[in-house]
Symmetry: C2
Subunit: 244 residues, 2 copies
Protein backbone atom coordinates (compact mmCIF):
# COMPACT_ATOMS: atom_id res chain seq x y z
CA UNK A 1 0.00 0.00 0.00
CA UNK A 2 2.68 2.52 -0.93
CA UNK A 3 0.33 3.85 -3.57
CA UNK A 4 -1.85 6.48 -1.81
CA UNK A 5 -4.68 5.71 -4.23
CA UNK A 6 -4.77 2.02 -3.37
CA UNK A 7 -6.98 2.34 -0.26
CA UNK A 8 -9.40 4.59 -2.10
CA UNK A 9 -9.50 2.11 -4.94
CA UNK A 10 -10.46 -0.72 -2.56
CA UNK A 11 -13.18 1.41 -0.98
CA UNK A 12 -14.55 2.41 -4.33
CA UNK A 13 -14.75 -1.14 -5.58
CA UNK A 14 -16.37 -2.28 -2.33
CA UNK A 15 -19.08 0.31 -2.94
CA UNK A 16 -19.39 -0.81 -6.55
CA UNK A 17 -19.79 -4.43 -5.52
CA UNK A 18 -22.28 -3.57 -2.81
CA UNK A 19 -24.38 -1.50 -5.16
CA UNK A 20 -24.32 -4.34 -7.69
CA UNK A 21 -25.61 -6.61 -4.94
CA UNK A 22 -28.39 -4.18 -4.07
CA UNK A 23 -29.31 -3.89 -7.74
CA UNK A 24 -29.63 -7.65 -8.01
CA UNK A 25 -31.91 -7.70 -4.98
CA UNK A 26 -33.99 -4.83 -6.35
CA UNK A 27 -34.40 -6.83 -9.54
CA UNK A 28 -35.40 -9.92 -7.58
CA UNK A 29 -37.92 -7.85 -5.64
CA UNK A 30 -39.46 -6.45 -8.78
CA UNK A 31 -39.76 -9.92 -10.31
CA UNK A 32 -41.37 -11.29 -7.15
CA UNK A 33 -43.90 -8.45 -7.14
CA UNK A 34 -44.76 -9.12 -10.78
CA UNK A 35 -45.07 -12.83 -10.11
CA UNK A 36 -47.52 -12.26 -7.26
CA UNK A 37 -49.54 -9.75 -9.29
CA UNK A 38 -49.70 -12.07 -12.31
CA UNK A 39 -50.61 -15.07 -10.16
CA UNK A 40 -53.45 -13.02 -8.74
CA UNK A 41 -54.71 -12.00 -12.19
CA UNK A 42 -54.42 -15.62 -13.35
CA UNK A 43 -56.71 -16.68 -10.49
CA UNK A 44 -59.16 -13.80 -10.93
CA UNK A 45 -59.50 -14.40 -14.67
CA UNK A 46 -59.08 -18.18 -14.53
CA UNK A 47 -56.23 -17.79 -16.98
CA UNK A 48 -54.27 -21.06 -16.90
CA UNK A 49 -51.81 -19.90 -19.56
CA UNK A 50 -50.77 -16.88 -17.54
CA UNK A 51 -50.53 -19.14 -14.49
CA UNK A 52 -48.22 -21.50 -16.39
CA UNK A 53 -45.99 -18.58 -17.35
CA UNK A 54 -45.74 -17.55 -13.69
CA UNK A 55 -44.72 -21.10 -12.73
CA UNK A 56 -42.05 -21.08 -15.43
CA UNK A 57 -40.63 -17.69 -14.57
CA UNK A 58 -39.86 -18.68 -10.98
CA UNK A 59 -36.47 -19.93 -12.20
CA UNK A 60 -35.36 -16.38 -12.92
CA UNK A 61 -35.74 -15.43 -9.25
CA UNK A 62 -33.94 -18.56 -8.11
CA UNK A 63 -31.07 -17.80 -10.48
CA UNK A 64 -30.78 -14.26 -9.12
CA UNK A 65 -30.65 -15.60 -5.58
CA UNK A 66 -27.76 -17.85 -6.54
CA UNK A 67 -25.98 -14.82 -7.96
CA UNK A 68 -26.56 -12.88 -4.76
CA UNK A 69 -25.23 -15.75 -2.60
CA UNK A 70 -22.19 -16.04 -4.80
CA UNK A 71 -21.53 -12.29 -4.69
CA UNK A 72 -21.96 -12.22 -0.91
CA UNK A 73 -19.44 -15.01 -0.49
CA UNK A 74 -16.95 -13.20 -2.71
CA UNK A 75 -17.54 -9.86 -1.04
CA UNK A 76 -17.01 -11.35 2.43
CA UNK A 77 -13.87 -13.18 1.35
CA UNK A 78 -12.23 -10.35 -0.58
CA UNK A 79 -13.42 -7.24 1.24
CA UNK A 80 -13.86 -8.60 4.77
CA UNK A 81 -16.34 -5.90 5.74
CA UNK A 82 -16.99 -5.11 9.39
CA UNK A 83 -19.66 -3.27 11.43
CA UNK A 84 -22.34 -1.66 9.29
CA UNK A 85 -20.81 -2.92 6.04
CA UNK A 86 -20.97 -6.47 7.36
CA UNK A 87 -24.58 -6.03 8.46
CA UNK A 88 -25.34 -4.67 4.99
CA UNK A 89 -23.93 -7.76 3.30
CA UNK A 90 -25.65 -10.22 5.64
CA UNK A 91 -28.95 -8.37 5.32
CA UNK A 92 -28.63 -8.69 1.54
CA UNK A 93 -28.13 -12.44 1.89
CA UNK A 94 -31.17 -12.88 4.12
CA UNK A 95 -33.42 -10.54 2.17
CA UNK A 96 -32.57 -12.34 -1.06
CA UNK A 97 -33.54 -15.62 0.62
CA UNK A 98 -36.88 -14.12 1.68
CA UNK A 99 -37.61 -12.83 -1.82
CA UNK A 100 -36.75 -16.23 -3.25
CA UNK A 101 -39.33 -17.83 -0.92
CA UNK A 102 -41.89 -15.18 -1.87
CA UNK A 103 -41.30 -16.12 -5.51
CA UNK A 104 -41.89 -19.78 -4.63
CA UNK A 105 -45.17 -18.95 -2.92
CA UNK A 106 -46.35 -16.81 -5.86
CA UNK A 107 -45.50 -19.66 -8.25
CA UNK A 108 -47.39 -22.10 -6.04
CA UNK A 109 -50.46 -19.84 -6.07
CA UNK A 110 -50.31 -19.87 -9.86
CA UNK A 111 -49.81 -23.63 -10.00
CA UNK A 112 -52.80 -24.31 -7.78
CA UNK A 113 -54.72 -21.79 -9.87
CA UNK A 114 -54.33 -24.15 -12.82
CA UNK A 115 -55.76 -27.02 -10.75
CA UNK A 116 -58.55 -24.72 -9.56
CA UNK A 117 -59.62 -24.16 -13.16
CA UNK A 118 -60.39 -27.88 -13.44
CA UNK A 119 -63.44 -27.32 -11.20
CA UNK A 120 -66.39 -25.00 -11.64
CA UNK A 121 -65.76 -21.52 -10.20
CA UNK A 122 -66.39 -21.12 -6.46
CA UNK A 123 -67.46 -17.82 -4.91
CA UNK A 124 -64.68 -17.46 -2.29
CA UNK A 125 -62.03 -17.40 -5.04
CA UNK A 126 -62.98 -13.75 -5.46
CA UNK A 127 -61.41 -12.94 -2.08
CA UNK A 128 -57.97 -14.15 -3.11
CA UNK A 129 -56.94 -11.18 -5.29
CA UNK A 130 -57.73 -8.85 -2.39
CA UNK A 131 -55.38 -10.88 -0.18
CA UNK A 132 -52.72 -10.79 -2.88
CA UNK A 133 -53.14 -7.04 -3.22
CA UNK A 134 -52.51 -6.45 0.50
CA UNK A 135 -49.47 -8.76 0.48
CA UNK A 136 -48.19 -7.18 -2.74
CA UNK A 137 -48.39 -3.72 -1.24
CA UNK A 138 -46.52 -4.88 1.87
CA UNK A 139 -43.83 -6.32 -0.37
CA UNK A 140 -43.53 -3.17 -2.49
CA UNK A 141 -43.34 -0.95 0.60
CA UNK A 142 -40.80 -3.04 2.47
CA UNK A 143 -38.56 -3.23 -0.59
CA UNK A 144 -38.81 0.53 -0.84
CA UNK A 145 -37.95 0.86 2.86
CA UNK A 146 -34.93 -1.37 2.24
CA UNK A 147 -33.79 0.71 -0.71
CA UNK A 148 -34.04 3.88 1.40
CA UNK A 149 -32.73 2.22 4.60
CA UNK A 150 -35.84 3.54 6.29
CA UNK A 151 -36.38 1.55 9.52
CA UNK A 152 -39.57 3.46 10.41
CA UNK A 153 -41.18 2.58 7.08
CA UNK A 154 -40.07 -1.04 7.55
CA UNK A 155 -41.68 -1.13 10.99
CA UNK A 156 -44.88 0.22 9.51
CA UNK A 157 -45.00 -2.68 7.03
CA UNK A 158 -44.23 -5.12 9.83
CA UNK A 159 -47.27 -3.89 11.74
CA UNK A 160 -49.52 -4.14 8.71
CA UNK A 161 -49.07 -7.91 8.63
CA UNK A 162 -51.83 -8.21 11.22
CA UNK A 163 -54.40 -6.98 8.68
CA UNK A 164 -53.29 -9.63 6.24
CA UNK A 165 -53.58 -12.31 8.93
CA UNK A 166 -57.13 -11.19 9.68
CA UNK A 167 -58.14 -11.26 6.03
CA UNK A 168 -56.61 -14.71 5.74
CA UNK A 169 -58.43 -16.02 8.81
CA UNK A 170 -61.75 -14.67 7.53
CA UNK A 171 -61.21 -16.36 4.17
CA UNK A 172 -60.19 -19.60 5.90
CA UNK A 173 -63.49 -19.69 7.79
CA UNK A 174 -65.46 -18.81 4.70
CA UNK A 175 -63.80 -21.65 2.80
CA UNK A 176 -64.69 -24.16 5.53
CA UNK A 177 -68.32 -23.06 5.32
CA UNK A 178 -68.37 -23.52 1.54
CA UNK A 179 -66.85 -26.95 1.83
CA UNK A 180 -69.58 -27.99 4.26
CA UNK A 181 -72.35 -26.78 1.98
CA UNK A 182 -71.44 -28.91 -0.98
CA UNK A 183 -68.85 -31.69 -1.25
CA UNK A 184 -68.13 -30.58 -4.83
CA UNK A 185 -66.58 -27.46 -3.31
CA UNK A 186 -64.07 -29.43 -1.27
CA UNK A 187 -61.29 -29.89 -3.82
CA UNK A 188 -61.31 -26.33 -5.20
CA UNK A 189 -61.67 -24.86 -1.71
CA UNK A 190 -58.74 -26.96 -0.49
CA UNK A 191 -56.59 -25.45 -3.23
CA UNK A 192 -57.85 -22.02 -2.20
CA UNK A 193 -56.95 -22.76 1.43
CA UNK A 194 -53.36 -23.44 0.41
CA UNK A 195 -53.28 -20.49 -1.98
CA UNK A 196 -54.48 -18.17 0.78
CA UNK A 197 -51.93 -19.71 3.14
CA UNK A 198 -49.18 -19.05 0.57
CA UNK A 199 -50.15 -15.39 0.44
CA UNK A 200 -50.27 -15.17 4.24
CA UNK A 201 -46.72 -16.59 4.22
CA UNK A 202 -45.66 -13.92 1.71
CA UNK A 203 -46.73 -11.40 4.35
CA UNK A 204 -44.55 -13.19 6.92
CA UNK A 205 -41.56 -12.96 4.60
CA UNK A 206 -42.25 -9.25 4.04
CA UNK A 207 -42.10 -8.84 7.83
CA UNK A 208 -38.81 -10.80 7.88
CA UNK A 209 -37.44 -8.30 5.37
CA UNK A 210 -38.70 -5.48 7.59
CA UNK A 211 -36.84 -7.01 10.55
CA UNK A 212 -33.66 -7.15 8.49
CA UNK A 213 -34.00 -3.50 7.47
CA UNK A 214 -34.51 -2.58 11.12
CA UNK A 215 -31.42 -4.53 12.20
CA UNK A 216 -29.38 -3.08 9.36
CA UNK A 217 -30.18 0.47 10.45
CA UNK A 218 -30.23 0.11 14.24
CA UNK A 219 -27.76 -2.76 14.82
CA UNK A 220 -30.23 -4.36 17.22
CA UNK A 221 -33.07 -6.77 16.51
CA UNK A 222 -36.67 -5.68 16.28
CA UNK A 223 -37.25 -7.57 19.50
CA UNK A 224 -40.86 -6.78 20.26
CA UNK A 225 -42.49 -10.17 20.24
CA UNK A 226 -45.74 -10.23 18.40
CA UNK A 227 -47.83 -13.27 17.69
CA UNK A 228 -46.91 -14.15 14.16
CA UNK A 229 -49.01 -15.18 11.26
CA UNK A 230 -51.59 -17.84 11.00
CA UNK A 231 -54.44 -17.56 13.49
CA UNK A 232 -56.36 -20.45 11.92
CA UNK A 233 -54.59 -23.14 13.95
CA UNK A 234 -57.20 -22.48 16.64
CA UNK A 235 -60.22 -22.77 14.36
CA UNK A 236 -62.78 -25.24 15.69
CA UNK A 237 -65.78 -26.57 13.77
CA UNK A 238 -68.29 -23.87 12.80
CA UNK A 239 -72.01 -24.38 13.28
CA UNK A 240 -73.00 -26.41 10.28
CA UNK A 241 -75.31 -25.46 7.49
CA UNK A 242 -75.23 -21.77 8.37
CA UNK A 243 -73.46 -19.39 6.06
CA UNK A 244 -72.02 -16.56 8.15
CA UNK B 1 2.85 -9.86 15.87
CA UNK B 2 6.35 -10.04 17.33
CA UNK B 3 5.14 -12.79 19.64
CA UNK B 4 5.58 -16.07 17.70
CA UNK B 5 2.65 -17.55 19.62
CA UNK B 6 0.19 -14.84 18.57
CA UNK B 7 -0.80 -16.37 15.22
CA UNK B 8 -1.31 -19.74 16.81
CA UNK B 9 -3.43 -18.11 19.48
CA UNK B 10 -5.70 -16.54 16.86
CA UNK B 11 -6.06 -19.84 15.02
CA UNK B 12 -6.87 -21.66 18.21
CA UNK B 13 -9.56 -19.22 19.21
CA UNK B 14 -11.09 -19.32 15.70
CA UNK B 15 -11.43 -23.07 16.08
CA UNK B 16 -12.86 -22.63 19.55
CA UNK B 17 -15.46 -20.17 18.31
CA UNK B 18 -16.35 -22.33 15.35
CA UNK B 19 -16.80 -25.40 17.50
CA UNK B 20 -18.99 -23.37 19.87
CA UNK B 21 -21.10 -22.40 16.86
CA UNK B 22 -21.39 -26.03 15.75
CA UNK B 23 -22.34 -27.05 19.29
CA UNK B 24 -25.13 -24.48 19.33
CA UNK B 25 -26.44 -25.82 16.05
CA UNK B 26 -26.22 -29.40 17.27
CA UNK B 27 -28.27 -28.35 20.29
CA UNK B 28 -30.82 -26.63 18.04
CA UNK B 29 -31.03 -29.75 15.90
CA UNK B 30 -31.62 -31.99 18.90
CA UNK B 31 -34.36 -29.68 20.19
CA UNK B 32 -36.05 -29.59 16.78
CA UNK B 33 -36.01 -33.40 16.59
CA UNK B 34 -37.55 -33.67 20.05
CA UNK B 35 -40.16 -31.07 19.17
CA UNK B 36 -41.22 -32.99 16.07
CA UNK B 37 -41.27 -36.32 17.94
CA UNK B 38 -43.33 -34.84 20.79
CA UNK B 39 -45.72 -33.13 18.39
CA UNK B 40 -46.26 -36.48 16.71
CA UNK B 41 -46.94 -38.25 20.03
CA UNK B 42 -49.29 -35.43 21.03
CA UNK B 43 -51.31 -36.04 17.84
CA UNK B 44 -51.24 -39.83 18.11
CA UNK B 45 -52.36 -39.81 21.74
CA UNK B 46 -54.59 -36.72 21.48
CA UNK B 47 -52.55 -35.21 24.30
CA UNK B 48 -53.28 -31.47 24.29
CA UNK B 49 -51.05 -30.81 27.31
CA UNK B 50 -48.01 -32.26 25.58
CA UNK B 51 -48.95 -30.27 22.47
CA UNK B 52 -49.10 -27.07 24.53
CA UNK B 53 -45.62 -27.79 25.93
CA UNK B 54 -44.29 -28.21 22.39
CA UNK B 55 -45.79 -24.84 21.38
CA UNK B 56 -44.18 -23.20 24.42
CA UNK B 57 -40.75 -24.73 23.91
CA UNK B 58 -40.40 -23.29 20.40
CA UNK B 59 -38.90 -20.15 21.99
CA UNK B 60 -35.80 -22.09 23.03
CA UNK B 61 -34.97 -22.86 19.38
CA UNK B 62 -35.62 -19.27 18.34
CA UNK B 63 -33.31 -18.04 21.10
CA UNK B 64 -30.55 -20.40 19.95
CA UNK B 65 -30.90 -19.14 16.39
CA UNK B 66 -30.41 -15.59 17.61
CA UNK B 67 -27.25 -16.72 19.40
CA UNK B 68 -25.97 -18.38 16.25
CA UNK B 69 -26.64 -15.26 14.14
CA UNK B 70 -24.88 -13.12 16.70
CA UNK B 71 -21.88 -15.46 16.86
CA UNK B 72 -21.67 -15.61 13.06
CA UNK B 73 -21.63 -11.82 12.83
CA UNK B 74 -18.88 -11.63 15.45
CA UNK B 75 -16.87 -14.41 13.86
CA UNK B 76 -17.04 -12.78 10.43
CA UNK B 77 -16.09 -9.37 11.82
CA UNK B 78 -13.24 -10.48 14.09
CA UNK B 79 -11.80 -13.49 12.27
CA UNK B 80 -12.58 -12.60 8.67
CA UNK B 81 -12.47 -16.21 7.53
CA UNK B 82 -11.97 -17.06 3.85
CA UNK B 83 -12.42 -20.09 1.58
CA UNK B 84 -13.58 -23.19 3.43
CA UNK B 85 -13.71 -21.38 6.79
CA UNK B 86 -16.05 -18.80 5.29
CA UNK B 87 -18.25 -21.48 3.75
CA UNK B 88 -18.33 -23.17 7.15
CA UNK B 89 -19.59 -20.02 8.85
CA UNK B 90 -22.19 -19.23 6.19
CA UNK B 91 -23.42 -22.83 6.18
CA UNK B 92 -23.87 -22.56 9.95
CA UNK B 93 -25.97 -19.43 9.48
CA UNK B 94 -28.20 -21.04 6.86
CA UNK B 95 -28.54 -24.37 8.62
CA UNK B 96 -29.53 -22.61 11.84
CA UNK B 97 -32.23 -20.75 9.89
CA UNK B 98 -33.54 -24.05 8.47
CA UNK B 99 -33.64 -25.67 11.91
CA UNK B 100 -35.49 -22.64 13.27
CA UNK B 101 -38.14 -23.08 10.57
CA UNK B 102 -38.36 -26.80 11.29
CA UNK B 103 -39.03 -25.88 14.92
CA UNK B 104 -41.80 -23.52 13.80
CA UNK B 105 -43.42 -26.25 11.72
CA UNK B 106 -43.24 -28.77 14.59
CA UNK B 107 -44.82 -26.21 16.93
CA UNK B 108 -47.55 -25.55 14.37
CA UNK B 109 -48.30 -29.29 14.10
CA UNK B 110 -48.68 -29.36 17.90
CA UNK B 111 -50.86 -26.24 17.90
CA UNK B 112 -53.22 -27.64 15.29
CA UNK B 113 -53.22 -30.89 17.25
CA UNK B 114 -54.88 -29.01 20.10
CA UNK B 115 -57.58 -27.74 17.72
CA UNK B 116 -57.93 -31.25 16.29
CA UNK B 117 -58.80 -32.57 19.76
CA UNK B 118 -61.88 -30.32 19.75
CA UNK B 119 -63.44 -32.66 17.16
CA UNK B 120 -64.13 -36.38 17.35
CA UNK B 121 -61.16 -38.48 16.16
CA UNK B 122 -60.86 -39.00 12.39
CA UNK B 123 -59.23 -42.08 10.89
CA UNK B 124 -56.63 -40.36 8.65
CA UNK B 125 -55.00 -38.77 11.73
CA UNK B 126 -53.31 -42.14 12.21
CA UNK B 127 -51.18 -41.53 9.09
CA UNK B 128 -49.60 -38.38 10.50
CA UNK B 129 -47.14 -40.00 12.95
CA UNK B 130 -45.77 -42.11 10.07
CA UNK B 131 -45.14 -38.93 8.09
CA UNK B 132 -43.48 -37.34 11.13
CA UNK B 133 -41.31 -40.41 11.59
CA UNK B 134 -39.99 -40.24 8.02
CA UNK B 135 -39.31 -36.50 8.31
CA UNK B 136 -37.72 -36.98 11.74
CA UNK B 137 -35.35 -39.61 10.41
CA UNK B 138 -34.37 -37.34 7.51
CA UNK B 139 -33.66 -34.57 10.00
CA UNK B 140 -31.60 -36.82 12.29
CA UNK B 141 -29.58 -38.18 9.38
CA UNK B 142 -28.89 -34.84 7.74
CA UNK B 143 -27.75 -33.34 11.05
CA UNK B 144 -25.47 -36.31 11.47
CA UNK B 145 -24.14 -35.80 7.92
CA UNK B 146 -23.49 -32.16 8.81
CA UNK B 147 -21.64 -33.09 12.00
CA UNK B 148 -19.45 -35.50 10.02
CA UNK B 149 -19.17 -33.24 6.95
CA UNK B 150 -20.36 -36.20 4.93
CA UNK B 151 -21.67 -34.95 1.57
CA UNK B 152 -22.61 -38.45 0.36
CA UNK B 153 -24.80 -39.04 3.42
CA UNK B 154 -26.35 -35.58 2.92
CA UNK B 155 -27.14 -36.42 -0.70
CA UNK B 156 -28.78 -39.66 0.41
CA UNK B 157 -31.12 -37.71 2.71
CA UNK B 158 -31.83 -35.25 -0.09
CA UNK B 159 -32.98 -38.10 -2.31
CA UNK B 160 -35.19 -39.57 0.39
CA UNK B 161 -37.40 -36.46 0.33
CA UNK B 162 -39.29 -37.97 -2.58
CA UNK B 163 -40.67 -40.72 -0.34
CA UNK B 164 -41.95 -38.13 2.08
CA UNK B 165 -43.60 -36.21 -0.75
CA UNK B 166 -45.36 -39.37 -1.91
CA UNK B 167 -46.62 -40.18 1.58
CA UNK B 168 -47.85 -36.61 1.89
CA UNK B 169 -49.66 -36.70 -1.44
CA UNK B 170 -51.35 -40.00 -0.54
CA UNK B 171 -52.52 -38.54 2.78
CA UNK B 172 -53.72 -35.37 1.03
CA UNK B 173 -55.95 -37.42 -1.28
CA UNK B 174 -57.21 -39.54 1.61
CA UNK B 175 -58.14 -36.42 3.54
CA UNK B 176 -60.12 -35.02 0.59
CA UNK B 177 -62.07 -38.27 0.39
CA UNK B 178 -62.91 -38.15 4.12
CA UNK B 179 -64.05 -34.58 3.84
CA UNK B 180 -66.44 -35.52 1.05
CA UNK B 181 -67.93 -38.37 3.01
CA UNK B 182 -69.08 -36.32 5.96
CA UNK B 183 -69.08 -32.55 6.43
CA UNK B 184 -68.25 -33.05 10.11
CA UNK B 185 -64.85 -34.27 8.96
CA UNK B 186 -64.07 -31.03 7.15
CA UNK B 187 -62.66 -28.95 10.01
CA UNK B 188 -60.47 -31.68 11.54
CA UNK B 189 -59.29 -32.83 8.10
CA UNK B 190 -58.41 -29.25 7.17
CA UNK B 191 -56.18 -29.09 10.24
CA UNK B 192 -54.66 -32.42 9.22
CA UNK B 193 -54.04 -31.08 5.70
CA UNK B 194 -51.99 -28.23 7.13
CA UNK B 195 -50.26 -30.48 9.67
CA UNK B 196 -49.24 -32.87 6.89
CA UNK B 197 -48.09 -29.90 4.81
CA UNK B 198 -45.97 -28.69 7.74
CA UNK B 199 -44.25 -32.05 7.94
CA UNK B 200 -43.71 -32.10 4.17
CA UNK B 201 -42.06 -28.68 4.57
CA UNK B 202 -39.83 -30.07 7.32
CA UNK B 203 -38.57 -32.52 4.70
CA UNK B 204 -37.84 -29.61 2.34
CA UNK B 205 -35.80 -27.90 5.04
CA UNK B 206 -33.90 -31.13 5.68
CA UNK B 207 -33.03 -31.14 1.97
CA UNK B 208 -31.92 -27.49 2.25
CA UNK B 209 -29.57 -28.56 5.04
CA UNK B 210 -28.32 -31.38 2.83
CA UNK B 211 -27.61 -28.84 0.05
CA UNK B 212 -25.63 -26.72 2.48
CA UNK B 213 -23.57 -29.70 3.64
CA UNK B 214 -22.86 -30.54 0.01
CA UNK B 215 -21.76 -26.98 -0.76
CA UNK B 216 -19.67 -26.83 2.39
CA UNK B 217 -17.75 -29.94 1.39
CA UNK B 218 -17.54 -29.52 -2.39
CA UNK B 219 -17.56 -25.71 -2.79
CA UNK B 220 -20.14 -26.08 -5.56
CA UNK B 221 -23.93 -26.22 -5.34
CA UNK B 222 -25.86 -29.44 -5.53
CA UNK B 223 -27.11 -28.31 -8.90
CA UNK B 224 -29.12 -31.29 -10.03
CA UNK B 225 -32.58 -29.86 -10.42
CA UNK B 226 -35.25 -32.08 -9.03
CA UNK B 227 -38.91 -31.22 -8.77
CA UNK B 228 -39.28 -30.14 -5.19
CA UNK B 229 -41.89 -30.91 -2.65
CA UNK B 230 -45.59 -30.66 -2.87
CA UNK B 231 -47.18 -32.66 -5.66
CA UNK B 232 -50.71 -31.89 -4.50
CA UNK B 233 -50.98 -28.61 -6.42
CA UNK B 234 -52.10 -30.73 -9.36
CA UNK B 235 -54.80 -32.64 -7.50
CA UNK B 236 -58.16 -32.46 -9.26
CA UNK B 237 -61.49 -33.56 -7.81
CA UNK B 238 -61.66 -37.30 -7.00
CA UNK B 239 -64.67 -39.40 -7.95
CA UNK B 240 -67.15 -38.67 -5.21
CA UNK B 241 -68.60 -41.00 -2.66
CA UNK B 242 -65.98 -43.68 -3.30
CA UNK B 243 -63.40 -44.37 -0.68
CA UNK B 244 -60.21 -45.45 -2.39
Amino acid sequence: MTDPHAAEHIIKSYDTELSRLLDEIARMGLLAREQLADASVAVAERDSELAARVVERDNAIDALEHEVSHDVLRLLALRQPIARDLREVLAALRIAADIERIGDYAANVAKRGIALNQSAPVTPAAALPRLAEVAGRMLADVLDAYRRHDAAAALEVWERDEQLDQLYTALFRELLTYMMEDPRNITPCTHLLFMAKNIERIGDHATNIAENVYFLVHARPLAEARRKGDLTSDVTPPVQGHRR
